[in-house]
Symmetry: C2
Subunit: 181 residues, 2 copies
DNA sequence: CCTGGTAGGTTCGTTCACTGAACCTTGACT
DNA sequence: AGTCAAGGTTCAGTGAACGAACCTACCAGG
């Protein structure tokens, strides 16, 4: 958000958090990372953000320790962006935002639902499993598509996200798909 | 965020929520509303946002039904901005952000803690009361200042927020205080 | 009647960030 | 040598945020 001076003297944890993840696109990048997106180009086609902005956001998320940039291939050199422990702790924020967007805003069909991978039960609003009575970490959550999703999206990342998927599992696009940008 | 086209075709509840509350200052306005701030000038001195931006944010929050603008005095005409039911449902978002800002970001002293007003117990991360085993609505939460707060802030709103306060209770500033802007 | 003060804004010029398009680099493949 | 893909950077144009000044309505004191 490039705020610095104004938010800095707010003496407030909420303001501090917003300094880090409050800029445009930032939380959507983190959301995609939970959905398994790891590569620059996949973020790009899924978000539709300008390349320069995406590069800046990825860099700043790495700088604050939310994402880790790591080499996954040497020739040609390719990096991927993976959520750190600190980034994974942002899940309750995304969860709360998504819940509010779905329930408090009018005329929204449910886009995705989140289930405990061990038992299939849909998670309670607080993020725990009603059946097991346990707090469910993001790695044990399965995302399932809902009625509000576009059934035939244009970009390959959205198409891959139409299938039920466990959070944080890297998204692997079929080679034929990655060509359609 | 004036995004419209880009976020709009994201088919995602998180993106929809961010369209509404994702702009700079917006969530801090909502936070202040939870703390009892209701008047334009109080938001202004506490946030330090430009007047034009604050006016635009308040108006857009009224437009989307998060705040209600209502006349509380006729002569001279004075309006106050109060959280609606829809706005109050944003509490889990602020809670999650504040928790992350405090626990995941380094070097932060706790600024405020939140307690169940019925028993005084500090709330669990999910927002429930560990002693009573109940989900606690914002109206039953008491905010208490923590070690990270500036003990002698410049503006009267920050000074008023140094005392333990129940959420959503309107902030009444002593007349002598409101003069020091 | 004149001045001053307060609440709640609007207007305006400057600065800064976002946008979209084009371009660049590295390495693999043919 | 030419082409392709990934992952960027650069750049001009636009829109939003910023800070200061100004405006309006009302009341109080001298």
């Amino acid at each position: 958000m490039a705020l610095g001076k104004d938010y800095a003297n707010q003496h407030c944890s909420i303001a501090r958090a917003l300094e880090v993840v409050g800029e445009r696109w930032t939380l959507l990048v983190v959301r995609d990372a939970f959905y398994g997106v790891r590569r620059y180009n996949d973020f790009l086609v899924h978000l539709g953000a300008p390349r320069a902005v995406l590069a800046a956001r990825l860099q700043s998320l790495v700088d604050v320790g939310v994402l880790d940039k790591r080499r996954y291939q040497e020739a040609p050199p390719r990096d991927e962006y993976v959520l750190t422990e600190r980034g994974i702790r942002l899940w309750p924020v995304l969860r709360a935002l998504g819940l509010w967007g779905r329930e408090a805003l009018p005329g929204t069909l449910p886009m995705r639902s989140f289930h405990h991978v061990a038992c299939g039960t849909e998670l309670a609003p607080a993020g725990d499993c009603p059946a097991c009575g346990l707090a469910v970490p993001p790695a044990d959550i399965e995302m399932r598509p809902g009625a509000g999703l576009d059934p035939d999206p244009a970009d390959p990342v959205s198409r891959a996200l139409l299938k039920p998927r466990r959070l944080l599992v890297p998204l692997e696009l079929p080679p034929s798909e990655s060509r359609r940008v």
